[in-house]
Symmetry: C2
Subunit: 195 residues, 2 copies
């Protein structure tokens, strides 16, 4: 009973991710997704049964990847500066690929409170916050609540990509310039938060 895998189920998910997380089209319909994937709408229901389930799967995978990334970066045994550089490098790349991803996680997060968070927190975030605090004592980072540091860090990475269209119109950034500026930001962000 060989179930052959044509990759179409994955194609549909990837397309949904592109539409939701890259294009930021919050109320794309199953038809929109099917069209973008170049398949029949029925197939979307065939594989996922309902729009909600497709949506949920896609968001869950986004959460999982987010967790993985945190894992990878924060638990590597390297110096703080290296870790920080890698953190910025990896996250910026992901944010550029999927600017709206975190936003979907945010709006989903408001509904379901989770307990799994504790695991991530204890395993990765808490130790990293401690490292940040140590760097503050060493005078390498401006002293504040380490959580303020984290919020600033994410903000500097995520928001400019999210507000791309506003930046282009209000700051007169051209289509060609924008990716270059985002690349530059990796260094700029590091310099802003670490001396």
């Amino acid at each position: 009973m060989a179930v052959r895998d044509t990759g179409t189920e994955q194609l549909i998910k990837d397309t949904a991710k592109r539409i939701f997380f890259f294009e930021g089209r919050f109320h794309a319909t199953t038809q929109d997704i099917a069209d973008a994937a170049g398949v029949n709408r029925t197939l979307v229901h065939y594989y996922f049964r309902s729009r909600d389930i497709l949506f949920e799967q896609v968001v869950n995978e986004a959460k999982e990847q987010l967790r993985q990334t945190l894992d990878n970066v924060l638990s590597s045994k390297v110096s703080f500066t290296e870790k920080l550089r890698k953190f910025i490098d990896v996250f910026m790349d992901e944010i550029i690929a999927y600017p709206y991803r975190e936003l979907f996680v945010i709006t989903e997060n408001k509904r379901h409170e989770k307990q799994e968070v504790d695991l991530i927190y204890d395993a990765h975030i808490k130790p990293f916050l401690a490292e940040v605090k140590a760097e503050m004592h060493a005078g390498k980072i401006t002293s504040t609540d380490p959580r303020q540091f984290m919020m600033s860090l994410f903000a500097l990475m995520a928001y400019p990509v999210l507000s791309e269209s506003l930046n282009k119109t209000f700051l007169k950034i051209s289509d060609a310039e924008f990716p270059k500026l985002m690349k530059q930001r990796k260094q700029i962000i590091f310099d802003m938060i670490y001396r």
Copy 2:
């Protein structure tokens, strides 16, 4: 033929703003809005004819207020540091009141390109960017493209508020702490970008 103003039209708009810009409910229906405002759904159509028109009005007023705020802050004849402080103070307050407002403007902005932007740009943004550049030459701000400075500034203000729920769960920030941390940020942001 006195047309008496009961303020209901405004109530509906304010409620829509609350739902869209504060609660971030991107696909709230006319029914949702009517319920939240405590009026009959028919009344929404009576005043605004269609959901699109209500939505458009609300977003346009958001844009207008945004423009006004920029006007107010950026064209006042005070020192750069004072201007910067005021900028952060005023904008943070607005962002806290309406965290999702810019996001709606962003998604709207992607559809309609505007020419009115040039007016705002020439009148306020361009001169301010020049001021920023001057401060960079004076060594008060780290030298980069002034537009990077602007993007960082907005990011530091907007994103932490936008990602409130994520911050609360992942950084273990309590409901009580959050507003305090946001208030603290005004100073923190200033210190981060100005020496």
